[in-house]
Each structure stands twice: as C-alpha cells, then as structure tokens.
Amino acid sequence: MSLLHQLREYELRMRREGKKPVSEGEQAGGDEMPFMYALQPVRWRVTLRGDGTVLDVQPLSSGKTKGKDLGKPTPAPNLVRTVGIKPRLLTDNAEYVLGFAKKEGDPKVGQRHDAFKALVQACAEATGEPSVQAVARFLGGHDPASFKEKYLAAFSDFTPDTNVTFSVEGVEPLTLPAVQRFWAAQFGQGDNENGATALIAECLITGEVGPVMEREPVKIKGILGGQTSGMNFISANAQAFESYGLQASQIAPVKFEAAEQYANGLNRLLADPNTSLKVGGVTYAFWTGEGAVPLVSRTLQEPPAELTHRFAIQKKREKKARPEEVRQTLWGIFQGEQPTLKPGAAFHAVGLTPSGSRIAVRTHLTSTVQEAVDNLSDYFTAQSLVIANPKYDRESYDIRTLVSGMYRDINKEHTAPDVDALVQFALSGRPLPESFLARLAARNRADEYRVTRPRAVLTKMVLLSRDRKELDMDKDSLDALNPGQPEPAYHLGRLLAVLDDIQGSVMRANTTLVDRFYGSMSITPYAVVGRLIHGSQAHLQKLRKENEPAYRAKQRELEDVMSRLADIPAKPLTTAQQSLFALGYYHQRAEINAGIRERAEAKKARAEAEKNVPQPEPLLTEGAVQ
C-alpha cells in the first residue's frame, strides 16, 4: 500500500474518532477544523457595526507573559505562502488586512491589501452574508493613515506582522459555514495562482479524475534536522525531477483535499511523542489501521524496567531469556496503558530523513501489531547477555547506546543508516548489516575498555540475526559462557581473558596483557598465542609459590580453555570470527568477575560469621610454623 494512502486513512480515522487535529505544533481545541483552517494566533479584532463603520479595536492575548504576544490561537483560514501574494480570508496580518507596511516603502503592500479586499468582496458576493458584506464595505472606505490615528493610538505594541480579524455586531464571520465553504472552494477548483488552468488528472491516492494540486497545501513539520517552517513530501523544483511536462507537485497528481489529509495525518503522528521517534538523524512515525498505537517509540528509547526484571528472574533460573515471556511482558506493558490495542490490526512504520526542504523516505514497513510486538520482543530477547559488571552495566539498551558502541564519538558521525538498520531489525526482524561486525571489532581493538557490554550485546544481536553458515557456532547459547562452542575463535577470546586474569593475579601492570595483545590476538592469534602461553608460565610459577589454591584454580581454567583448542587457526581470523572472539572474551571476563564476586561475598559472609563466634585463644604452635 502506498504510504500516502495509509497516512490519509489514518487521518480520516482520527477525524471519525473525533480526535483533535494538530496544527502549528499545538493541539487544537473543540471540534473538527474546517477544510484549510488551522490554529493561528490572532492579536487584534476590529469590531464593526452592521453598516461597515468601526466600533473599536480590541487586543486579543495569548496569555503568555514572556516574549512577544502574538495573540489568541484561533481557527482561521490557512495556506502555504512563500513569495507570491496570496491573501487568507478575513484574517491575515495587518499588511494584508489594513495595508500597513512591515517595511517602509514596500511597493507590494498595496497589492497585498488589494488582493485581500478582492477576496473579501468575492466572499461577500458569493455568500451574501451581511457580516462579510459589512467587512467589505469597511474595506471599501478604509484609509490606513486615518485608521491608525483614530483607533490604534492607544496600542503602542501594534505591529503590522500580527494577525487581524473582524467581528460584526457580535458575529465572527469566520465561524459561518457559508464562509468556510467559500474558503474550501478556493482550493482544487482548477485555477492556480497564475490564473492558468490546473492539470486534470487521476489522483494517485483516491483514483478520482479531477483537478490536482500544484503545490502541497500543508507542510510537514517535526522532521529531525529539517527546516522548521515545514517540509514538502511531493515537490519538484528543478527540471531534473520533472517529466512529461509535469511540473511541481503535478509529477505525482494528488487531489488537493487528499494532500491536506495525508500531510495532517503525518503532522499528527510527528507531534505526538508516543507515535514518533527521533533518533540518530532519522524521524520515525508509527501508526495502526485500527485501535491504539503500541508504545514502540518509548520502548525503543527507554527499555521498560519490567523487561529488565524479567531478564533478571530468568537469569537465575536458567541462563537464557525466553522470548515468549518477554513478549507477554511487552503486551502487558502496552495493554496496561492502551486497552484498545488490537493484535490483528495493521501496523505501519515510516522512517524519514530531511534533504533540503524535502523529505526522503528511508524505511516503510507494514505488518500487524502482533508481528511488530513479536519482533520487538525478539529484539529485547536478543539483548539478553550475561552481565560482567553489575555496578555499571544495564540489562537492555536504547538504540543510541547500541549505535554509539560502533563509534569513537557518535556525535560526529552520520548514523542514520545504522539507526535505521536497528529499528528495522526491532520492528520487522530484518537482519542487521555485516558492516556492524567490522566496526565493532575495530572499536574493540582500539578502545581501552575493549569489549564493553553494549558492544558485546550488539555483536551478539548481529550474529543472531544472520544465518552465518561459514561460522561454526552454537547460536542458541550466546547469552553466557558456553565451553561447548565449536568455533576455536571463541575459545581464543576466552584464552586471552584467562591469561590476563593470571597476569592480574600476580602483578599490577600498568599495561596489561589485554592492552598489549587484544588487537593482535583477535586478528592473528597464531602469531601470539605461543608467546603468551610461554609468558604466562612465569606468572603461574610465581602464583604457585605464593598462593597454591589460586594457582590450581587458574591452571585448571587454563587447561579447560586449552583443551578446547585442538589447533589454532593459522590464517587471520575473519570479521565474523573476530566477533565471536570478542564474545568469548566477554563471556570469560564475566565468568571470572562472577567468581571474584562470589568469593568476595563468601569471604564477607565468613567474616560476619566469625565476628559472631568468640575467637579461641591462639595456640603457641601456630606462630612456630612461620
């Protein structure tokens, strides 16, 4: 299905459900907005009598005390105005309405005011509304200079760039249905601003044949890194994009109303943090065919605490997170806040990036809510990995943290493709790119912290997401140390961790074994293993003399790892093998740390116990042993 069609359907559904439209970044109040109306701040109201004479001018305030007061947000006719002269009906800035120049001596002010007058006149004739006729009469005899002198002397803060509206004998002409119909009829009637006849073509969204828009009526706002005034979805400003003599938005013929609907639909999604996600240069929007939208964006940005608990409980029982339980937890979280969530409803996601004043579509996914949540739970399950450092490490990570594992400084990088790949993996299960492994391996080699948990987690996710036939590994148990892994690269990683541990237990080196050898060991283990084993013998010897039980334990560990290494690969390790090397290293480190923690706790418990037991008298013979 086409993206624009889906967006339009969403907007129409929201309107049917009575949801307020979004405009100018603010939530509108009350009922549905009339066609081509939007909330706009109006600062001044000119009150007229029925015969068109002025009663007074009233200031309208937004209530804000800080900054410039632009006026009270009011539903008023809206259009996209760039350089051309295009008046809005009955409410516009003072330049159009009253003919006051923003810049002294601007020759176009008169033209603007005349265009406004002509539009009101046309409206008065078409609708026959007495209030509009009164405004037209007022404009007919309006003289800017005397008006200013007579009615605006009291308002020192009057500026021509603020909006002015009218009220006639208590009637607001803009709220009249006839006026709203007249304004709506200004669009899609076949004539464009230059007076040329609009293209008659088949609308690519609705399929109806009729006049199509030349320019998009509503701009898209809220795209990360894009223009704040709004951006276009369909547009062609240069010959290179035009074809068959079709210009501007006519390259993709769309009816004016349909264009307004899809743009408002997207604006609605982007304005709500629950349906949009802005991360790493990409802006996402999520929506559904019916029912509520699952809280995908919030979950990806900040993995919920409930999931973390779930992982922790599972860890104790068995070393593997069960996707089924994570799925149920996710459903529980979503449905707790959104009871109208429907598993069978269509789920849509789109990823957008800015390109000048235009929007580029990076991703467009369509599935069901059930599938999306299933994939999301797989995404979180894939993150389950033994924790090496409980003090600093988290159970699951947000997208930015995962991506930053691949870069020295994420703020200086163009991360849109990576973020996009991760989001697509999270929502549709699409495999993560191979290039991630190369970058992670490079960071592991270069960074003094080596295999950090986010890096290990991402490595594991990539390995799980792809079917790596050339890599002989047990995919089901990458969560924690698995001595049964067939791939030697994994055990080489473990070996490095064990050797480093042996060194660490006899001396405190400024530059440790890992600092010195992680890089070469993870690429060409054949060249360094012999040297490392040889070097470790001296450490073991020292350990044997100083602390024999520790020596035995370390020796056992080393033998255990060495027994898995029937032969050491003579060729340099491939990127995939390097990734498994990193995981082996990380798992072994986590195992060693867990052992240390366990012993420390046991020691503490023993000390506690000993404190409570009265100390026996020291025996004389004990001193004689030394």
């Binding site: 299905m1 086409s2 993206l3 624009l4 069609h5 293209l199 008659i200 073509a201 088949e202 690519l204 969204i205 399929g207 979805f233 369909i234 547009s235 062609a236 240069a238 010959q239 290179a240 994009f241 068959y244 003599g245 079709l246 390259i251 993709a252 013929p253 769309v254 990036t353 390109s355 235009r358 929007i359 580029a360 579509v361 990076r362 991703t363 467009h364 493709p417 996009d420």
Partner: protein, 230 residues
C-alpha cells in the same frame, strides 16, 4: 502470450510521489515491463500489452545514497560549449540523494504483441522475431529495471522457477502515461502511424490502477489497454 525473464542486482521502479528522493514500488510496474520488452524488440507496427508480471524472488529493499547532478543535460547548452568553449563540471552541480531500491530481483513478464491498424505483416512474424531475439540475447539497447543504472539481464524463462508465495494489495500503482495530442500541449513527442513517424505536440498524464499481488503474480487489468492509445 510471450514470456521474458529479466533479472538484476538492483531495481528502482520509482513512485511518482517519491520521485526526488526516490522510493521504489514493491513490484515492477507495467510501464517498466513495457520498456524492457521494447528494448528487446519493437516496431511501429505493433504495441506491447503487458498481461502479467510474476515475481520470482522475495521482495527485498535496500537503502542507497548516490551523488547525482541537479540539472538536466541540455542539447542547446552543449552546442554553446562546443562553439564557445566551456563545459559541465559535475562537482559544482552535485546533490546527494537517497533512494530506497529493490535488491536481487527476478521477474517473468508475460505480454502480448498487439498489431496496430497500419500493420501489414502477420502477427506470427513479430512473435517469432521476438522469440529469436530473446533467446539470442539481442536488444536495441540493454534493458534496465526502472533506472538506467540498474541494468537488466534477460532470457527465456525457466519453467522450473515459480513465483513467490505472496498475496497482498500493493495500492495504486502507475500503469502508464496517457498521451493526448493537443496543439497547445506541454510536450513534443514522436507519434507513429500509417505515414511513418512524425512529431506531435500534446500532453501526457499518468494513469494508475489498483495493483494486487496474487500468489506472486501481478495481473494487469485488460480494460486499461482499452482506454489507452500508446
């Protein structure tokens, strides 16, 4: 019905609404299929009418950034360079654009040759010419899948290959452009008729249809051709 298999590493059947920052349709459009067939064999005496497009490989999308130039090549400008010196510096006219394209595609196009009113030879002549050309790999120009960059390979289909098992609505898809002669038209194009080729002025408007993938096959509704004079 004539058949032709086409395949390529990439394809981009650009959606008109995402023409600047391109996004592809999920499946080859009938007009792209016509373009491929015309590259292999075409004569003014007949037109191609695409009936079915079978998708043989799963739909995979791929994100691509390319350096493109902003302006169109103009013959008149090039002539001016030839006369007065100068030239085009691509580096000064760069734009980096994103495209969401298809990856690793393979289609079987099924289409009919429909002779025009001024054709004098029997249909069989054209069908056999096409079959011979397709088998030999002959083409007037190398066919491409949507964008010139995505060169296509072609040949007779292999009966053992079957379409993918996927049925879904693809939404409204571009069918083709409808040319209408009009003295004040925006477009100059070649029209072919009894008296040979001639230049015509007119307008072209895009036509759309509700596309649906039915067990991996896109059926092009026949009534579309009843209303279009290509």
């Amino acid at each position: 019905m004539l058949e032709l298999k086409v395949w390529s590493d990439y394809a981009c059947f650009t959606r008109p609404e995402n023409k600047v920052e391109r996004v592809t349709y999920d499946v080859m459009t009938p007009s792209a299929a016509r373009g491929v067939l015309e590259a292999v064999f075409w004569k003014p005496e007949f037109e191609w009418q695409v009936r079915e497009i079978a998708v043989l490989k799963p739909i995979r999308r791929f994100s691509l950034l390319r350096n493109e130039v902003n302006t169109l090549a103009s013959e008149r400008t090039a002539r001016a360079w030839a006369a007065n010196g100068g030239g085009f510096l691509a580096e000064e006219d760069r734009a980096q654009r994103h495209a969401l394209v298809l990856r690793d595609v393979c289609y079987v196009i099924r289409a009919d040759i429909v002779p025009r009113a001024h054709a004098t030879d029997p249909l069989q002549k054209y069908t056999e010419m096409f079959t011979r050309r397709a088998e030999k790999g002959q083409a007037f120009h190398q066919p491409y899948l949507g964008n010139r960059e995505f060169t296509a390979f072609f040949g007779p289909p292999d009966p053992s290959e079957t379409p993918i098992d996927l049925s879904e609505d693809l939404g409204r898809m571009l069918f083709d452009l409808h040319f209408q002669e009009n003295g004040k038209g925006r477009l100059k194009y070649r029209a072919h008729g009894e008296g040979g080729a001639r230049w015509a002025t007119g307008n072209a408007t895009p036509r759309f249809f509700n596309a649906r993938l039915d067990k991996g096959v896109l059926h092009v509704p026949r009534h579309l051709y009843g209303e279009v004079d290509a």
